[in-house]
């Protein structure tokens, strides 16, 4: 009887039911779209952060670079002896990038801190390669002047001019990251996948091998087995790495010891990448490291996320604030409208409920009937809302609007194509920023669907609560008297 009565009532009042269901559907669809877009924003931010940190890194430990002292100069300096006329000359300048170096033993110190699951050190370098040639100018004597030779002779001083000559040099800048080959699972290299060749072997701690970023390899026409020369040392390219998103952490990856040798920074690193044992304890671990290892800067993913600006940040804030509050407002309005419509429907059915109570129906049974109808309305609204919400999320994913993430702030610095990011990863420069384009998607999770179903049921229950409360308080004598 419950279901028969329920079905017939909903069919009879389908217009009102549709209004209630549509209101709830709108609210639920908004919740789904806002939630899925927010999830997409988070994924986009995670991708941005992963491109810097690599997978699994919860924080980095660095030491901020100091301003150059008077007379030191900050610019690279190249010296060539211009003896070999016309011959190719080349010089590499390898510089530690962005930070002051830390002793490699810092990694062990950090690893021994409470709450640290793993730590790995890396050295971030910037290489400026200048290659080209000097050409001596040719003396050209003016016709009719002096002797026949440049050296002069009888008949007076020869006159003429030097033509041609000069210098032609290419300046090429790229980033190199020295990675600990024994800990391949942590650090910025993990933000890229090996798409050709192989990664470093643990036995290659001091081997002359390199992994090239796919874009850099394409630009420099590097293939597996090719060699790259840095400061006179030849490295064989054993792997090509493609970043999961955005830019790669570096153009070339070398074993840490090789990078240290190139930079003349034996036993030095620029960054310690830290994985915490518990993601909920990151702040405590950060405090512990800062307290116990003085002079270092600890940067968590959250700190880095705070530096993200640009359209990604704007859209993320929009989804988090405006979208969330809009969804809540629409839901509250939908719940209220559903409640009032259900309550009003009870008012129109006073005689009906009064009669049922006169026949011996208990208040609870009448209330259940009203709540049941409202819950079914809610579920219909939920189903509609989920359909509309999924369509909305699908549309966002299909359109995939591109958002730009601006990491860090300020201008200048850096140079070259290596990423220059405030805090954190390789190629880091405190003054430079990094811009990444991320395609936005709107993934709908099972949690979001569960939330939508929960809201639908809650909407039905709230609406049913309004109506049921009125129906339960109805005294049969009053109900029958009112209409007769």
């Amino acid at each position: 009887m419950f279901f028969t009565y329920l079905r017939r009532e909903l069919r009879r009042r389908r217009k009102a039911a549709l209004v209630v269901a549509s209101g709830l559907a709108l609210g639920i669809a908004l919740v789904i779209v806002v939630n899925s877009v927010s999830a997409g924003m988070n994924q986009a931010q995670d991708k941005v952060l992963q491109s810097l940190y690599g997978l699994g890194t919860d924080m980095t430990v660095t030491k901020a670079a100091t301003a150059p002292k008077a007379g030191e100069g900050g610019r690279p300096r190249f010296e060539f002896g211009a003896k070999d006329d016309g011959k190719e000359q080349s010089s590499d300048r390898v510089m530690v990038q962005g930070f002051q170096t830390l002793a490699a033993s810092t990694v062990d110190k950090v690893a021994s801190q409470k709450g640290v699951a793993d730590a790995v050190g890396g050295l971030s370098l910037q290489v400026m390669k200048v290659d080209g040639q000097f050409k001596r100018g040719q003396f050209k004597q003016d016709p009719g002047s002096g002797g026949a030779t440049r050296q002069g002779g009888p008949g007076g001083e020869p006159r003429g001019r030097v033509e041609g000559g000069g210098a032609s040099f290419d300046v090429n800048s790229y980033s190199v990251y020295g990675t600990d080959v024994t800990k391949a699972g942590l650090g910025p290299r993990t933000s890229s996948k090996i798409t050709e060749g192989r990664a470093f072997k643990t036995s290659e701690a001091d081997a002359k091998v390199a992994v090239a970023d796919a874009s850099y390899a394409k630009e420099k026409k590097l293939a597996l087995g090719d060699s790259v020369k840095i400061k006179g040392v030849t490295y064989e390219v054993v792997g090509i790495a493609t970043p999961d998103s955005g830019d790669a952490a570096a153009d070339l990856y070398l074993p840490l010891k090789q990078a240290q040798t190139l930079a003349g920074a034996k036993g030095k690193i620029t960054t310690v990448y830290v994985k915490a044992t518990d993601s909920q304890q990151i702040s405590a671990v950060k405090r512990g490291i800062q307290k116990n290892i003085s002079g270092t800067t600890v940067t968590t993913s959250a700190d880095l996320a705070d530096t993200v600006s640009g359209s990604l940040s704007t859209a993320s804030n929009l989804a988090a604030n405006v979208g969330r509050w809009l969804s809540i407002a629409v839901l509250v309005a939908a719940f209220l409208v559903a409640g009032l419509l259900t309550s009003s429907a009870v008012s129109r059915r006073v005689r009906e409920f009064g009669t049922l109570k006169a026949l011996g129906w208990k208040s609870g049974r009448v209330t259940r009937q009203v709540v049941g109808e409202a819950v079914v309305n809610g579920l219909v609204g939920g189903a509609l809302g989920i359909a509309v919400g999924l369509a909305g999320a699908y549309a966002v994913t299909a359109i995939s609007p591109t958002l730009t993430a601006q990491l860090g702030s300020g201008a200048g610095g850096g140079g070259g194509r290596g990423p220059g990011v405030v805090m954190g990863g390789p190629g880091i420069s405190q003054a430079a920023g990094k811009s990444l384009d991320i395609a936005l998607s709107a993934p709908v999770s099972a949690t979001t669907i569960t939330l939508a179903v929960g809201l639908a049921v809650a909407g039905g229950l709230i609406a049913g609560g309004f109506g049921g409360w009125r129906a339960s308080r109805l005294r049969p004598a009053d109900a029958l008297r009112r209409v007769e």
């Binding site: 009565y5 005689r351 009906e352 049922l356």
Partner: protein, 228 residues
Amino acid sequence: MYQLRGVTKQYRRDKATVDALVDVDLTIGDGDRLVIQGPTGGGKSTLLQMLGGLDRPTSGSIELDGVDLAKLPEARLTTFRAESIGFVFQSFNLIPTLNAQENVETALVPLRLKAAERRERAAQALESVGLGERLGHLPSEMSGGQQQRVAIARALVKNPKVLLADEPTGNLDESMRDEIMDVLETLWKEHGLTFVMVTHDSSIARRAPRIATIRKGRITLTENSKAV
């Protein structure tokens, strides 16, 4: 048997107290048939609702077979209505979305019978009022007389002790009125019910052996030797 002693019912209306029933004493024996008459607002329907346990008196007692309905807790009063009282209303009060059989079944829902038994008893009840062919019809598909028959079937399907009818022919034309009265009287005799009916219609009142007239809440009983 009903035993009413000193039943008074007062309502508050616009800060004034209205006496709907004043010190009513009344006895209705098992199987009796009583008609209540009186002017509009005199207290007829109020008395009927008291008898049916739909309302409680301000003072006095209403005993049915020794149980004082005025003092029964709400849940037991509801059970009492479900088991012992059949109501027939002037406006039929059928559920518009349910068909004839389902409407009759609503009276059996509180008795927690199995669905199959409910359906069977509802069909039998409709058969007994001559609507065996119209089980699946909605109220809107039936005439006023047929709707009232469905309401009568609904009142009687649970085999109540008492049948209370409030102006059961008030919304019917003359031919329908006689038809419904014939049905009610036949069923009253067949079931041995206690039958109390409120009516304005003197021709119907004259068919009853006892007539109670209520004016300004006070009751006067008349024996009718010319009862049908």
